[in-house]
Amino acid sequence: MGTKIGYTFIQSNRAWLPKALVLWIMGMAFISMSIYRGMDEENKIRRKEVLGSMCDQRARMLQDQFNVTVNHVHALTILVSTFHYFKNPSALDQDTFAEYTTRTAFERPLLSGVAYAPRVVDAQREQFERQHGMTITTMKSEPSPIRDEYAPVMFYQEPMSHVKSLDMMSGEEDRENILRARATGKAVLTRPFRLLGSHHLGVVLTFPVYKSKLPPRSTVEERIKATAGYIGGPFDVESLVENLLGQLAGNQAILVNVYDMTNASDPLIMYGDQNQDGDMSLLHESELDFGDSFRKHKMICRQVRLVSGYILYGAAIHIVKVEDDFHKMQELKVRAEAADVAKSQFLATVSHEIRTPMNGILGMLALLLDTDLSSTQRDYAQTAQICGKALIALINEVLDRAKIEARKLELEAVLFNLRAILDDVLSLFSEKSRNKGIEFTERGHIFVKVHLAERTMVKTDAKDETLLNGGTEEGVCRSGTGQFNTLSGLEAADGRNSWDKFKHLIDAEGFQSNASIINMMASNGGSEDVTLMVCVEDTGIGIPLSAQERVFMPFMQADSSTSRHYGGTGIGLSISKCLVELMRGQISFVSRPQVGSTFSFTAVFGKCKEYVFEDIKQSKSEDLPPGFKGLKAVVVDEKPVRAAVTQYHLNRLGIMVKMSSSIKDASSTAKNGLTSSEDKFQPDIILVEKDCWISGEDSGFNAQLLDWKPNGHVFKLPKLILLATNISKDECDKAKAGGFADTVIMKPLRASMIAACLQQVLSTENKRQAGRGVPNGSSFHQGLLRGKKILVVDDNGVNRMVAAGALKKFGATVECAASAKAALDKLQSPHCFDACFMDIQMPEMDGFEATRRIRQMESKANEQMMNGGSSVDGTAKRDELHLPILAMTADVIHATFDECLKCGMDGYVSKPFEEENLYRELAKFFKSKPLSAFIKMRQGPGAFELVILGLKLIERFSWNQSLSLPQEPHSWVRVPLLGLD
């Protein structure tokens, strides 16, 4: 058949092939059969066991119920004898009996009813009939023929009313029963027969009632003589047992038969269908003892023959159930996910809702603090204010996180200046670090560096280092004291930031060598993206190994005590992670307990294409006042690294710097400057590190200073400036007395801060010069909007006026509209407005709606233009009407950018106006030179997020520091910058 025809062995035996096939099939069938049997045999044993236990269980249950019933009927007999015979007159009548039996029916679960029939001998018949107003009848409802004695039913339970006045002795089974019962004095059962009324198969239970108490060992005659009547009731075995078994599980799988086995050769069926199909091979018998010793009962259980069908049915039911469950689970999963989203939204909403009243609370607290308060009151109010601020900060964090989770956080590509941002980060932190007493010296460090991630692209180690605060080389110089090759000399978790590299950078003296950087940019010009890597290294307690896995999980801190010791909620790093991932970067860390941690992250930025390199200088001169160019300064610091930092910042301001390691050197330099003509370095400023000053104080610094000053008669005296990380009031006074009347500059250093201080110091002489040097932001921006016509829409007159004033400042012609309707009138095309500022919250029609209508009008006009066919496609497209509309809103959250965009707005500015903000938005629409920035983030978040990220990272370390360095904690931050500037 399917056998492939070959040419060798198979070919030669082809005649045998069909036979071989038949043989094969038979063989396989036999094997299958034997396997089946083997399996079936096992199965059978198991089934038998199961059947046995099920059968026994049923038998036991039936028997128990039966016995309970019998016992209760026994109790009834005692009731009747007690209240009917021992009491005179009888305390029992039909109503009482019926009520009692009905109410106690639950005690006799297997009995469909009970009835009492007194023993009436023929002589008493007439009297009895008269007394009870009834005629004794037979089972066939005929007046009873005369007999020796009767047992007419006198009391009965409600459902048994059909037996009223029936003579129980007239029925064959009942008569037999009665006789047997009164002779034995025990409960007796009839054989199974069709019951009167229901025609179900059943048995009748009969109990004798005695007139008098019988002795314990009474004879049969005594008992018969004492018999007063009989209590009996039918067991409707068929329906009751059915009911009972129905309560048990798995009753469909077996067949139950109950037999009366009194006559062993002729078992009488009591329950179950004799002819029902059953698996005769598998049956189990259980003995039943119903309390009647004369009668024997037996329960026989068999497996239903169609058990496999039943199993299939069961399996199908099970599958359906599982599938239903699955669907239910799926639905629940969807609901759970929806709940999760709802949770985020709820968090965001609630947080936002909390913010509004919190602002009120804080506002009131601020007002309260302005009033006259006792010191205690002030303390309370201040505490409340601090707590409120902490709460707001927390809410903001939660909002951030919720926003990120809800994918609401979108990245905006903006131009930024990395150095300016890092400067800002530092300035935000200087306050915090000063409050905590963390300063930047030899006892540890915090180190931030930013460089290009792909070093291979950078031929030189082109990092432009911005040293934000003085470090020290001490650790390295003091060799042999177990120090490490890091900047502070302390061991760091990540050994890659070695001192050697840093020294190399200082040696290169290439802080501002733009040429090499431009070269690098050029060589790097092929790629569009720039990946920056930011590392933050600290020394301190580090992160316990056990907690390192959880560091990026929200609300997880190293352990529960972290929050108590260092504050924070544990959400910062998880937000950082989200942000970094949004910026297509990665965040990671290396941490060693008791050594410190190094966090690093990468982020991908786009390069600003249209940027012209020459603008770098311009932009730089724009953020830093140029008035200091050509000044000369001497920095007195014994620690070269720290001095290099100071020098770097001064260089940025265009100040020429000489370094000297002690005051002596410095003063001699200055003197030389005065006397010798070849070295013309005449300092305008002398900056002295506080440490040097303190150490030099004893060695007659003041004298030197005084010695030096008179020599300055020809030139202006150099200004003396003290550089300090922290300074007490005493020291400050002393410094002033010691000649530093001019100023003290607090570290960490920032170019802008130095500029401000210098300006202050120098202002007495060259006020004008300096004044001119200060960049005038508004004049810089002036002319941006010259000739542009702008419509301002706001219902608030004051706001309108201020906005108009601000826009006029940029050279624009401004028109105002007090309502959205008025604005729409003004904007009927053709109009001559170049932009529109729209308030969002206005009565009648809000800004969103107004914008929508304006856009509708525009699109209509555009269509007409197209239909007019006056212009070619290309130009038509370009000429399409689209008025830039900027939302003005005080509440940035309410009017999210999304909402603004959705209704056709182009951007928003927050109220009250800030010049920078306004300018930035406007600049987008009226193309002008970019501001001071050189990298355009493509997929990165706004520069602000980078700042925040940096803050989060540094924050992490500032507390690390505080524990490990309890006495005079020092550390220092260095922020080297990307070498593009």
């Binding site: 009120g360 508004s778 004051v798 109220k911 106006f913």
Partner: protein
């Protein structure tokens, strides 16, 4: 000449006290930046517009709060207006009260609103008298032939 510098000094002291005591904030100085030759009286104009505006708003708030059945929405919209104006001109204290006021409006707390109304009108009166003094000093300096110092 002496008079002018004295006046200038007074002016500087007074105006810095306004900042220090929180009557005005940075926005007010932003406003000054907007003033130039083309609009020499910009600040005064804005301020007087603000005063008119604020007075009207405060009166309507008071009226609305006197009603047996207070329409808090209406009160809130007035407060919102006032908050907008005050933040525009940099009236810090008025703005702060407005923020609290709005939260009372949200909570439909009449008593709190009444308290805030009193406060807001108090702050407003204070601010008005302070600013009027400031402007008068400016006028004096100009009249004496000096120039108004920028901070």
């Amino acid at each position: 000449m002496d008079v002018v510098s004295q006046l200038q000094k007074q002016f500087i002291d007074f105006s810095s006290s306004l900042y220090r005591e929180g009557y005005v904030d940075d926005q007010f100085s932003q406003l000054h930046k907007l003033q130039d030759e083309s609009s020499p009286d910009f600040v005064v104009e804005v301020a007087s517009l603000f005063f008119d505006d604020a007075e009207k708003l405060i009166n309507s708030m008071a009226r609305a709060l006197e009603q047996p059945c207070v329409d808090f929405k209406q009160v809130d919209s007035h407060v919102h207006q006032l908050k907008g104006s005050s933040s525009s001109i940099g009236a810090l204290r008025v703005k702060n009260v407005c923020i609290a006021f709005r939260s009372f409006c949200d909570a439909q707390n009449r008593e709190g609103c009444m308290r805030c109304l009193q406060q807001v009108s108090h702050e407003y009166t204070m601010l008005k008298s302070k600013l009027q003094t400031l402007f008068r000093m400016e006028q004096q300096i100009l009249a004496a032939g000096g120039s108004v110092p920028l901070e």
